[in-house]
Symmetry: C2
């Protein structure tokens, strides 16, 4: 694709013009070849990490395939979302499945990838045993549950989708569940306050998100009410499951314009773009679309690759966006059986994989490159924000580009 | 139509089983014929009063037709809404058209009909001269404008649609206007607080409404945010323009269920049901539907009469609803040229007029009726809440049925 206005804006918001002066034993390292490499993006290129739980726990059915998946995952991503759906995490009251998730979270953390837990409160996949409790008791165990998970995972997971889909929560009418009951009872804002207070108390420095799929004025009104009520939200989470077709730049930019008005960082928390047939537009709840088979097609894969590029570029071009989390790398096991992954059912990367890989690692990244310092020991380069490493004669030094614009660094190689 | 469950509920919430003991000179008025009549409903059967401004001001082009309209109006309605659209009320800054509206409001008030002003703040039909002002100045004149109108009309108009359509207000993008500018700038809830504070200050006992056409979760979220922020709303206004077809009982009841959760009285503030073709469903902003001619049809009029009955019955059956305001009695001059009135272009009442007239005055009202007291001077009857008059030998006495249930009154005819 050709250079566009959004490429300019991406570079403006995401990169720095760096001047690095290298010294060795106090003297400028003049006219020397060194290797420059970006080792990590500041921008969070996220994905679900559900698929790597077995690998992290040593319970792989197919260790080779899982190892390959891990390699593919790290080729694109630097930020994982792990599942804390209450009904699966604690199907029997008092027996939370903490251990395997903690191992998985540590697996990612050990590789330097921050991890987010999703979600701590939601009316879907909630625990069935809540239905036997009075509302006051449901609220109490919801609070306790949040404190337990946030506390147990602190230091490994320090970012949480605290509550999911509050706009629809009190009027959700597909089936009875404990969370809708209490949200209807106490109201949306007291519900948000209750769960955020619990998470904040358990981990005062954690990054706490409000997350929703509703991109209408309803979510704006909810956010405004929550903020006016004095509840501190760290990040706004916007879902973007596009099973019914890519939104396009105009819609995405309009959404960014509306939700950036609150001065909060934005995460695109759940992105899906399918490489097969598009789900019919008349379906309101995506869960209602049940098909036996939903194949990925060559035309679909070409289209998906283009749309992935357009979507990621639109998001990186807006300064409020700090993360994009893709909702599943593999078609295998994907929500609704959709061919929405970067990797097909046979384990082969799709064109979208290669496209995003090129963007993240080449166009926006700096692969290991040999460069020469000038007569004053200086390197000048434009680099995307994040972590860098310079290697020279077996010595190496790490540094960061933290802010867009101009950066001047003096670095000693001693 | 046959008696239904909603008829039972209407009677349960709207009527009282009254036992009235009449005395004359301290003795029971036993075995005497008297005339019993309901003179006013407590329920507010409202309509726009725009059409009677000329009559009230003595500026009628056709005094006979206007007098006939007034008669038709009072045959159905006991509550008027008058227009305070800023762009028409004060097209030139500093020259508000207070006088003709005050005369009109007094005309209604003199006849015992409460009057509501609509609206004090809205992004549509707002004053063009606001566009020349800085945002801070727009906010200041908006506040002043509210205090001026609420103060000038106090005692005649004590009920206001303070602000209209806040859900869409800050993201309204059809055209630039001063009100959208300040709402985008300060946010929805501070906007609501600002205008409610101004109205409350100017008239502490006035009844103040928040009004919207958005019946989605967005309006719920707005309401919850406003209430959590401690802003006192007296009544929730729900519009129900049905140019795209009658909602049906199920949708209306679901809306009533959702919006009655806040414990506030509900007014259906703007109701339209057309007696011609239905507007296509794909039109999002009703203002986009511009047609040369939109005739009323015999089939449409029969359907409208049935739907009017069903809509009013559904609303009266819900205890939270205190008012229904119909958005125009006459097809002549109706919004969008829609055939939505009770009276056709030729001035003839449609079937819907007769249907609602029968409901309001006969089925739910008590026309002047001769009844006899028993040997203890008692009358027993079931009557809809409101004002009553008993006449006997040239003496008359007025009383009220205030609360649904059972009422016992002792009334002296002296």
């Amino acid at each position: 694709m050709t250079e566009t206005f959004s490429d300019d804006r991406i570079r403006q918001h995401r990169s720095a013009d760096a001047t690095v002066t290298l010294t060795l034993d106090g003297a400028p390292l003049a006219g020397r070849e060194v290797t420059l490499e970006q080792t990590r993006h500041k921008f969070l290129f996220g994905c679900t990490g559900f698929e790597l739980i077995d690998l992290a726990n040593g319970t792989s059915q197919d260790p080779e395939a899982d190892a390959r998946n891990a390699e593919l995952w790290e080729g694109l991503f630097n930020f994982a979302t792990l599942p804390f759906y209450w009904g699966r995490f604690e199907p029997e009251r008092g027996k939370p499945a903490t251990e395997p998730l903690l191992k998985t979270a540590k697996w990612f953390a050990d590789r330097g990838h921050p991890v987010k837990g999703h979600p701590l409160a939601w009316h879907t996949v909630s625990a069935d045993w809540l239905l036997d409790l009075e509302n006051e008791e449901i609220a109490r165990v919801q609070v306790e549950r949040i404190k337990r998970e946030v506390g147990d995972f602190a230091g490994v997971i320090d970012m949480w989708d605290v509550i999911n889909e509050v706009v629809i929560m009190p009027i959700f009418d597909k089936y009875d569940n404990g969370i809708t009951r209490i949200c209807r009872d106490i109201g949306r804002i007291p519900m948000v306050r209750m769960v955020f207070d619990a998470a904040r108390e358990a981990s005062p420095n954690a990054t706490l998100l409000l997350n929703d799929f509703d991109m209408s004025a309803a979510y704006e009104c909810l956010i405004e009410g929550v903020l006016e009520a004095g509840i501190k939200i760290d990040v706004l989470g916007l879902q973007s499951h596009m099973h019914q077709g890519y939104w396009g730049e105009e819609k995405t930019e309009a959404i960014l314009e509306r939700f950036s008005r609150y001065g909060l960082p934005i995460h695109f928390t759940e992105t899906t773009i399918v490489s097969g047939e598009i789900m019919p537009p008349e379906i309101e709840d995506l869960n209602d679309h049940q098909v036996d088979s939903w194949p990925s097609t060559p035309e679909g894969e070409a289209r998906q690759a283009d749309e992935i590029e357009r979507h990621y570029k639109t998001l990186l071009a807006h300064p409020s966006v700090e993360a994009v989390t893709y909702w599943g790398m593999n078609d295998a096991g994907m929500w609704l059986g959709a061919p929405g992954g970067f990797v097909g059912l046979d384990g082969t990367p799709k064109p979208a994989y290669d496209r995003l890989h090129h963007l993240v690692n080449d166009e926006w990244g700096t692969p290991a490159t040999t460069v020469a310092t000038d007569e004053d020991g200086r390197l000048r380069f434009n680099g995307f924000l994040g972590d860098y490493r310079i290697t020279c004669d077996g010595r190496q030094v790490d540094f960061k580009l933290e802010e867009a614009g101009t950066a001047r660094l003096d670095i000693a190689l001693d």
